[in-house]
C-alpha cells in the first residue's frame, strides 16, 4: 500500500464520516422535524382514514334499522369462521313467513380483515368501522353481537 493511497483512503473515509455526522447533527438541532405522535393525548384529533379496517360493523340508521336479511352469505365467505349467523323465522306485515336475523355474531379475535364479508354482502349491510382500540382483558368480550338490541330490518331491503 503506497503512502498516497493510504492517506487518500484515510481522508476519504474521514470525510464520509463527517458527512454522516452532519446529517444526524442537523436533525438534533431541528427538533421541529420530530414526527412522534403522542397517542393517548391526541385521541381527539386522531382520525383514521374512512376505509380503515378496524372491525366489521352492521350499519344501523337512526331508527335502529339495519339492512341484514340473514342470508348467511357473509358467513359462507368468511375464511376463518369469524361470522356466525343465527336466524329466526319471522312473520312479515304481509303475513308471509320469512327468514330474519336473530343474532349476527362476529368473532373479532378470529377476523383477519380480508374484507370478503363486506364485499360479498348482497344488501350492503356490513361495513368496516374505524374503531381500533380493541384491547380487552377478557377474550369473551371480542365475540360481538353486531345487530343492536331491538333493531329491525330496514324497509325495502330484500
Amino acid at each position: 500500500m503506497g503512502l498516497k493511497s493510504y492517506l487518500s483512503g484515510l481522508f476519504k473515509g474521514f470525510y464520509s464520516l463527517l458527512v454522516g455526522l452532519r446529517v444526524t447533527n442537523s436533525y438534533f438541532f431541528h427538533p421541529s422535524r420530530i414526527v412522534t405522535q403522542q397517542y393517548p393525548e391526541n385521541r381527539k384529533t386522531l382520525k383514521m382514514f374512512e376505509r380503515f379496517k378496524g372491525e366489521v360493523i352492521l350499519v344501523h340508521n337512526e331508527n335502529n334499522e339495519h339492512r341484514c336479511t340473514g342470508c348467511g352469505i357473509c358467513e359462507m365467505n368468511c375464511p376463518n369462521g369469524s361470522i356466525e349467523i343465527i336466524s329466526k323465522m319471522e312473520t312479515g306485515e304481509d303475513g308471509k313467513k320469512r327468514k330474519a336475523i336473530d343474532k349476527h355474531i362476529y368473532h373479532l379475535s378470529m377476523c383477519t380483515f380480508c374484507g370478503l364479508c363486506v364485499k360479498s354482502c348482497p344488501s350492503k349491510a356490513l361495513a368496516f368501522g374505524n374503531e381500533f382500540e380493541h384491547a380487552v382483558f377478557d377474550r369473551a368480550k371480542l365475540d360481538k353481537v353486531l345487530n343492536k338490541e331491538g333493531s329491525v330490518l330496514m324497509k325495502g331491503v330484500e
Partner: protein, 362 residues
C-alpha cells in the same frame, strides 16, 4: 491572577481548619474522607443518571423522536424511575456461573470508573485528589475496568458473554496505546501531568490553540480512541447488541447491571472531562491572548459552568458518534488502531516534540 473570582481553595481550606480545630487530626481526616466520599458518591450517581437521560434525549432528537416524556416534566425523572426499577429487580443467579467472580465483576468496573472520577477537576480547588501524575493515574485506573468486563463475561457461563468479554479485552489493550500516546503528545507540550497545573497553564489560551496542528491531530485520535476504550458505539463490540444480544453483561440483572450501565456513562463523562481539561482548558474560561476586556467578561461565567459546558459538548460528540455510525468488525477495529491511529499518533508525538523544541507553539 485570573479565575480568583470563583476560587474554592480558600473555602475548602477553611472547612478543613474548622474540622481540625474541633477534633483530633486523625478524626478530622477520617471525617473529611467520609464526607468527601459521600459527596462524590451522590454526585457520581446524579451525573450518571442525568447522562442516561441526556443520552436518551439526544438520541431521540437525532432519531426524530421525542424520547422519554412521561415521568416528570419532559421525562426528566425517567432515569430515576428506571433506577428504582433496577434496584427492585431480582438478582438472578446463573446456573454454573462462578459466583464470586460474577458478583465481583460489576464492582471492579464501577470502582475503576469511580477512581478516575475522583481526579476530575470541576473548578479551582474543587478536585477530589490532585495528583502530580493525574493524567497518568486516569490512564492507569481507567484500563482497570476491562478486568471487570473480562471477569463478568467469563464468569457468567454464557457464550455470548464470553465472546463479548474477549473482544473487549483485545479492544482495550490496543486502544490504550493510542489514548496514551495522544496524551503523551499533550504532556510534551504542557510539561506536567498534574491536572490542576495543566489548567493553570491554559489561562492565556487553550492547548488546542496553542499546540495547533499536532494538538488537533492528537484531539481527533484521542476522541476516537477513548470512544473505543469506553466501549461505546461505533466501537461497542463488547456489547454488540445485534450480534451478541448484550455481550458481556447479557446475564446480569438488577443493580449489578445498573453498575455496568452507570459506569459506561461515567467513563464517558471522565473521558470528556479529561479531554476538556487537557485540550480545552478544563474549567478555565475562554481567554484570548491580550484581549483584557473580553477575558474579563469571560471570567464572570463561573468555572464550573465552563467545565460542564465543555465536557457536555464533548459528550454530545461522543453520543453523535454512537447514533450515526454502524459498528465496526473486530478485525477492522484492530486494523484501525494498528494501521492508522498508532502510526499517526507516533508520528504526532515526534511532530509535537519538534514543535516544542522549535518553540513553534503560542
Amino acid at each position: 491572577m485570573q479565575g480568583v473570582l470563583y476560587d474554592f481553595t480558600g473555602l475548602i481550606q477553611s472547612i478543613d481548619a474548622v474540622f481540625r480545630a474541633s477534633m483530633s487530626d486523625l478524626w478530622a481526616t477520617v471525617l473529611e474522607y467520609a464526607i468527601i466520599g459521600i459527596i462524590y458518591l451522590v454526585i457520581y450517581a446524579l451525573i450518571g443518571l442525568f447522562l442516561v437521560y441526556a443520552e436518551r434525549k439526544v438520541c431521540a432528537f437525532i432519531q426524530v423522536r421525542l424520547g422519554p416524556n412521561r415521568v416528570g416534566p419532559k421525562g426528566f425523572f425517567q432515569t430515576i424511575a428506571d433506577f428504582i426499577k433496577l434496584l427492585l429487580k431480582e438478582n438472578i443467579k446463573i446456573k454454573n456461573a462462578d459466583g464470586v467472580l460474577f458478583n465481583l465483576a460489576p464492582f471492579i468496573v464501577i470502582v475503576a470508573s469511580f477512581l478516575t472520577f475522583g481526579t476530575v477537576p470541576f473548578a479551582k480547588g474543587l478536585q477530589g485528589i490532585d495528583l502530580n501524575i493525574g493524567v497518568f493515574f486516569i490512564m492507569a485506573v481507567s484500563s482497570m475496568g476491562v478486568v471487570g468486563i473480562l471477569l463478568g463475561g467469563w464468569s457468567s457461563n454464557s457464550k455470548y458473554s464470553l465472546i463479548g468479554a474477549m473482544r473487549s479485552g483485545a479492544q482495550i489493550v490496543s486502544y490504550e496505546l493510542s489514548v496514551g500516546l495522544s496524551l503523551v503528545t499533550m504532556v510534551i507540550l504542557t510539561g506536567t501531568m498534574q491536572l490542576s497545573q495543566i489548567i493553570e497553564l491554559q489561562s492565556d489560551g487553550w492547548f488546542i490553540f496553542k499546540g495547533h496542528i499536532p494538538a488537533l491531530i492528537s484531539l481527533i485520535i484521542m476522541m476516537i480512541a477513548s470512544t473505543a476504550e469506553i466501549n461505546r458505539g461505533p466501537f461497542d463490540l463488547a456489547e454488540a447488541e445485534s450480534e451478541l444480544t448484550a455481550g458481556y453483561h447479557t446475564e446480569y440483572s438488577g443493580i449489578k447491571f445498573a453498575f455496568f450501565y452507570l459506569s459506561e456513562y461515567m467513563n464517558m463523562f471522565v473521558v470528556s472531562a479529561l479531554v476538556a481539561t487537557v485540550f480545552f482548558g478544563g474549567w478555565m474560561p475562554l481567554h484570548i491572548g491580550s484581549w483584557q476586556a473580553f477575558n474579563h467578561i469571560m471570567d464572570f461565567i463561573p468555572p464550573i459552568i465552563w467545565f460542564i459546558l465543555k465536557s457536555f459538548a464533548l459528550m454530545y460528540v461522543i453520543m453523535l458518534f454512537k447514533w450515526t455510525f454502524p459498528r465496526l468488525r473486530i478485525d477492522q477495529l484492530l486494523k484501525l488502531e494498528w494501521q492508522y491511529l498508532l502510526p499517526i499518533s507516533l508520528f504526532n508525538v515526534l511532530l509535537m516534540a519538534f514543535v516544542v523544541y522549535m518553540k513553534w507553539y503560542f
